[in-house]
């Protein structure tokens, strides 16, 4: 097999990993701290992509539009999630998980319909900004789209920021304590409801960011949330529920098996990540890294 083809697929896989990691780390954060399996997380990813389309178009569809959308789209999703959390979710944290799955599933249907209402059923495209058009020549035959290089840089930046939040900020430390014992966190004077609110909004911001970043690489369309929410849940499960580094590991496994699988067996490349999931769960039923559950 051609070495360049393998390397190039690895790079494709890594760009995919970044998107998967950003979205699933948000899902995992919410699952770990709030114990909400947020099925609507995929819809927020989709809304992030549509918001990126609208913002980018409003600013003329070029570089400015992209940069404004980079922050604007996830912030819009964060704002939306803030409203939903304060008006509905904050009252339901004590409910059973099945109830929460059904509730968030309901929200994913509502969000799906709202997107259809606002943006219609046609494909939308978000242009790649001028400075990210074209390729970098890594070796003689190895071309990397500049936008993919940008994604591969963004991934570690997000991981680092998330690490800083969780480990170095007071809010992050409180959220780690609340993940394990929310009652006791309340009993040392902390208003847990706000901690949950902030954590939820950050997690949803990440969904929106993932959607925004993927938008220039795909056709933005209804239903783009379906496969992603499945993949994100699997990533979070194989990584270890609530463990953000687990989400990174899971996303790597998913992204790389997907892209290399296509090389190995073009028609059925899609099965490789799922086979990897099964394999992981056979040997490590609780996920690769320590779960906070």
């Amino acid at each position: 097999m051609d070495l360049y083809a393998v390397l190039s697929q690895i790079l494709v896989g890594l760009s995919r990993t970044v998107i998967l990691f950003i979205v699933s780390s948000g899902l995992s954060l919410i699952l770990g701290v709030l114990r909400i399996p947020n099925v609507a997380h995929g819809s927020l990813y989709m809304i992030g992509a549509y918001a990126a389309y609208t913002i980018s178009k409003y600013f003329g569809g070029q570089d400015t539009g992209f940069w404004v959308a980079l922050f604007g789209a996830p912030l819009f999703v964060a704002f939306l999630s803030f409203i939903v959390e304060r008006s509905v979710f904050q009252f339901l944290y004590e409910r059973e998980h099945l109830m929460l799955v059904l509730l968030t599933f309901g929200f994913s249907l509502i969000f799906g319909d709202l997107v259809k209402l606002v943006w219609g059923g046609e494909y939308k495209t978000v242009p790649v900004p001028r400075i990210f058009q074209g390729y970098i020549l890594l070796f003689e035959h190895l071309h990397l789209p500049i936008y993919n290089a940008f994604l591969i840089i963004i991934g570690p930046v997000v991981a680092l920021l998330l690490w800083l939040f969780v480990n170095k900020t007071k809010m992050g430390k409180i959220s780690r304590a609340a993940a394990v014992d929310r009652e006791m966190v309340g009993a040392v004077g902390i208003n847990v409801s706000w901690v949950f609110g902030v954590t939820f909004v950050i997690g949803c911001f990440l969904a929106g960011l993932g959607g925004m970043l993927v938008a220039p690489t795909i056709s933005v369309t209804l239903g783009m949330d379906h496969s992603l929410i499945m993949e994100s849940f699997l990533i979070v499960i194989i990584g270890g529920l609530g463990n953000i580094w687990g989400a990174l590991l899971g996303a790597l496994i998913f992204g790389l098996t997907q892209s290399l699988g296509i090389l190995l067996w073009p028609q059925f490349g899609i099965v490789f990540p799922y086979a990897a999931v099964v394999l992981v769960l056979v040997f490590k039923p609780k996920g690769l890294l320590k779960s906070t559950w």
């Binding site: 409180i174 394990v180 009652e183 309340g186 009993a187």
Partner: protein, 234 residues
């Protein structure tokens, strides 16, 4: 009454689901005292503590703190009013370091600081960067007390602080609890270890099956063989 009443629990009835646990429990803590709440396993000591802290609010009756009704208020507000809670099962934040356990606590005033807490428990300073989940039982107990102190409490609810600890550690904890009293903190101390409790308390309540069976000074309890034999197994 010449002393100021800090806490007054007035005929509270607390339930876990359908099971009725506390029956018209009433007690008082005056400023500056250590009050013992004594009783056997399952007598309702922890439930009383949780009822005061707002973790299991009572179905009827009221809890009054510094003259204000606090029944039904969430625990975080009670902590902010100066009530510290040290649970019996030592719920340290196991994922965080000792120092972070202290740092995330809500600071009501600057009366107590990390510095002052480390002065009371010098050993905690030595292990401040260790994960709380890796501490021994005695260390965890010190940490839960230290954590509650970070909020500069006026009233401390201490639920069986010496349970399951080696005698030498029990002794040093007793000294530290005395120092807290000297620092002006009033304490409600739940204990089934009557001997240990009697070394510390000024007044006692004896609870059994969720009913207060005795109330009086330490001396009155020491002289009441009947109560000791029936409810405290000594």
């Amino acid at each position: 009454m010449n002393e100021e009443c800090l806490l007054e629990v007035n005929r509270v009835n607390t339930f876990y689901g359908l099971s009725h646990i506390l029956f018209d429990v009433s007690l008082k803590v005056y400023k500056g005292e250590i009050v013992g709440l004594l009783g056997r396993n399952g007598a309702g000591k922890s439930t009383t503590m949780k009822t005061i802290m707002g973790i299991t609010p009572p179905k009827s009756g009221e809890v009054i703190y510094k003259g204000e009704a606090i029944t039904g208020k969430p625990p975080y507000l009670l902590f902010r009013m100066g009530i510290g809670y040290v649970p019996d099962d030592r719920r340290v934040f196991s994922d965080l370091t000792v120092e972070d356990n202290l740092e995330i606590v809500y600071r009501r005033t600057n009366q107590w600081s990390k510095h002052r807490v480390y002065e009371l428990f010098p050993h905690l300073k030595d292990i401040r960067s260790r994960k709380a989940g890796h501490l021994s039982g005695g260390e965890q107990q010190m940490l839960t007390i230290a954590r509650a102190l970070m909020g500069s409490p006026e009233l401390l609810l201490l639920d069986e602080p010496t349970e399951g600890l080696a005698p030498i550690i029990v002794k040093s904890l007793e000294d530290q609890i005395r120092k807290l009293k000297e620092a002006g903190i009033s304490i409600l101390l739940a204990e089934q270890n009557v001997r240990s409790a009697l070394k510390l308390v000024d007044r006692v309540y004896v609870i059994d099956n969720g009913v207060i069976k005795f109330e009086g000074t330490k001396k009155a309890l020491e002289e009441n063989e009947e109560i000791k034999r029936r409810y405290l197994l000594i």
